[in-house]
Symmetry: C2
Subunit: 424 residues, 2 copies
């Protein structure tokens, strides 16, 4: 029996009508002889509503209790979905994360999965039941309920797929796959058929929101293929899997962009050993995630350090920067919130020299000024002005031959923001 | 350290403001040195809303999934209440029924508690935490979530009190205790200070809705004293406990009434052995709860059988009756939905002959006609016309000297219907 895990996000189960549609889809797959497991998120805005209630009570609710609260969202969905399947004449059973044996560390609100004890899922599949699992939640070794943070339901789905040895984990959302660029910016963007884990990781890290970074990491670490597809259409989407010989190695897989970061520059820092350690140590202590880092040595024996941080960490990052500027005797620092990061991702880059040069030329021809540059073996990212991001993405997409022959004007929103609603 | 379990129903936690008030009450008790456990229901109408959602999907949702769904209601409340206590600077921890170790049978939607493994509650109390427990829910030996049915949160509270050896289980609701009669019918009704388990059981069985029958049974079986009191006032309420020498043995403790039953009469049933067994066997098979039963032997060698059933079981009871009438060759049957049951309850009845005679006299003087009579050692119940129920209750309350000296016009609604909202 082939085993399939299907994950449905908040917009796919936003009301009872949509839940019935998901039930029909699960039954259709079951009827062709597969073992079917569904992993679901909370309905639509339920998680946001629960958070709002908690905030009425306390601005800083204890995270353990936040998890206790939020875990109810997915539990409602699994019960209703199991009922929907029964009402259509088929057998189903629902399990919470703790019941399935999603064992996590105790990092409440962003717990990491340590182990999946999938015996109950396997036993239920052996009985011929469709199995419904609550995404986004787990349990610590000593029995406290945890949640997995943003993208948690995807991670649950992949973990369950790994736990039961499913061939594929299908992630359903309101976008039908991963695109070569955000179709809202580049109408000629194409859906990618197959992409390697490594490329998908770079895409997720640089702005594509179809899949969360940690879900892709989990899939890579456990060798689970992901199929990203639409909840509303029956067409194939994008497969994310181990790179192999058969996979067409495009030089460039896609162009991503991200306007969620801000840039901080500290100027005239004394150029002595340990300065960078001191700056980024202070930022890490303040729990501010630093993305790109550039240090320029100036002629005067002082140096400028620039880095980008997510805007949501900005308040903490500013405080830490003020502190470090004082400690180091640096003269001044500046903040730019109107920056964007545009990235080229492609496994073929490794074996094709000149990609960076072509990228910079294309941006220059489009009149886009480069502010910071960072590279990995399969990615080149540039920080530019936010005002120029659409122009930059279009120029790169076209320069690297990613445009489809026929411009698909009605392409779905994808890379960039189309991800399914809810934190789960 | 004295241990107190406090139970708050749906109306006491209907919104975040009320939840804050409950938190303050728990902290006040904690600060005088007690170990405090709170058991809470779902907020206000949450349970009804969940049921409505399930009904949108299926008229007959599987009971296991119904329990999965409904258990989320209490889980939301415990998380918010723990947050509220934290926001007031105190430490608390919440537990679901499964986490507390409320082990039940597998009778989904009306499971019975088999065991309470209260180690986690005890450990948390030893750490000085206020412990918040979700009422109404438990878990089977093989890990399925169950709910305890109507009055389930009261039962949870009493079970936890028994499990940790608490002195008393305080049940807070919108009524401030058990009354000698429903104050909406008898303005001179008095709140009862102390009542025995046996009397409370009879009262609960005959219409008093302050406490559910099974919660009282559980308390009696485990020797837990119950203190029924108001969520909104700080006055003492009614204590329910083992009858002892010190307890004043009133001849009559109270008058209850119940208009939730209907009466069915089967006429001209052949008077031969096994007839009653056949009638009530068929009703039991149809899952119709029969309350009072009367059989009159007529002169003609046939007999009439009358019985009452809860109106909610009426559809099933009618079907079963039609079947049995045919089988027995009885000639006809009739249904009366306009009946009421009025009951006198009092442990002193055992040693005071003449109570029944005085009851029938008082009703006759009030012009109330008796339809059926049933007695236990501490209760006499009469079925009368529903139109006469208020007159009957007032006549009995006055005849047995239960009226308070000063008529308390603003007495809270109590015995009869005041119980806290929600099924939990």
């Amino acid at each position: 029996m082939s085993l399939v895990v299907m994950k449905f996000g908040g917009t796919s189960v936003v009301n009872t009508e949509r839940i019935m549609r998901v039930a029909q889809r699960l039954i259709a797959l079951k009827e062709v002889g597969s073992g079917v497991v569904a992993v679901v998120s909370a309905m639509g805005d339920v998680t946001d509503e629960l958070v709002a209630m908690a905030e009425e009570i306390s601005p800083y609710p204890p995270e353990r209790e936040m998890d206790m609260l939020l875990a109810t969202g997915e539990q409602v969905t699994i019960a209703l979905l199991a009922m929907a399947i029964h009402s259509l004449g088929h057998q189903a059973i629902s399990f919470t994360g703790p019941q399935v044996g999603i064992v996590t560390d105790s990092g409440h609100t962003k717990a990491k999965i340590r182990e999946v004890r999938a015996e109950r899922v396997r036993a239920a599949l052996d009985q011929g039941l469709i199995v419904i699992v609550a995404g986004f939640q787990g349990v610590t070794e000593d029995g406290h309920i945890t949640t997995l943070g943003r993208g948690g339901s995807d991670t649950t789905a992949i973990a369950v797929a790994a736990g039961i040895g499913a061939e594929v984990c299908e992630i359903y959302s309101d976008v039908d796959g991963v695109y070569t660029a955000d179709p809202r910016i580049v109408p000629s963007a194409r859906r990618i058929d197959v992409v390697s884990y490594e490329e998908m990781l770079e895409m997720a890290a640089t702005g594509a929101r179809v899949l969360q970074l940690r879900a892709v990491e989990f899939a890579r670490n456990h060798g689970v293929a992901i199929h990203c597809r639409s909840s509303f259409e029956d067409t194939p989407g994008t497969i994310v899997k181990e790179a192999d010989e058969s996979m067409e190695q495009a030089i460039i897989s896609g162009v991503t962009h991200d306007i969620s970061e801000a840039k901080i520059t500290i100027r005239d820092v004394p150029d002595r050993p340990g300065v960078a350690a001191s700056v980024f140590g202070t930022l890490a202590d303040a729990n501010a995630n630093v993305d790109m880092i550039i240090q320029n040595v100036s002629e005067s024996g002082t140096t400028d350090i620039s880095f980008t941080v997510p805007k949501e960490d900005l308040a903490r990052a500013k405080k830490a920067t003020e502190k470090v500027v004082l400690e180091l005797g640096a003269r001044r620092w500046s903040l730019d919130e109107s920056v964007a990061k545009v990235s080229l991702i492609g496994a073929g880059m490794k074996t094709h020299p000149g990609v960076a040069a072509q990228m910079f030329r294309a941006l220059a021809d489009a009149g886009v000024n480069l502010d910071m540059i960072a590279t990995s073996s399969i990615r080149i990212s540039c920080v530019i002005s936010a005002a120029e991001v659409e122009r930059a993405v279009r120029a790169l997409h076209s320069s690297f031959g990613l445009d489809s022959e026929e411009i698909s004007a009605e392409a779905s929103p994808a890379c960039g923001e189309g991800a399914d609603g809810g934190v789960g």
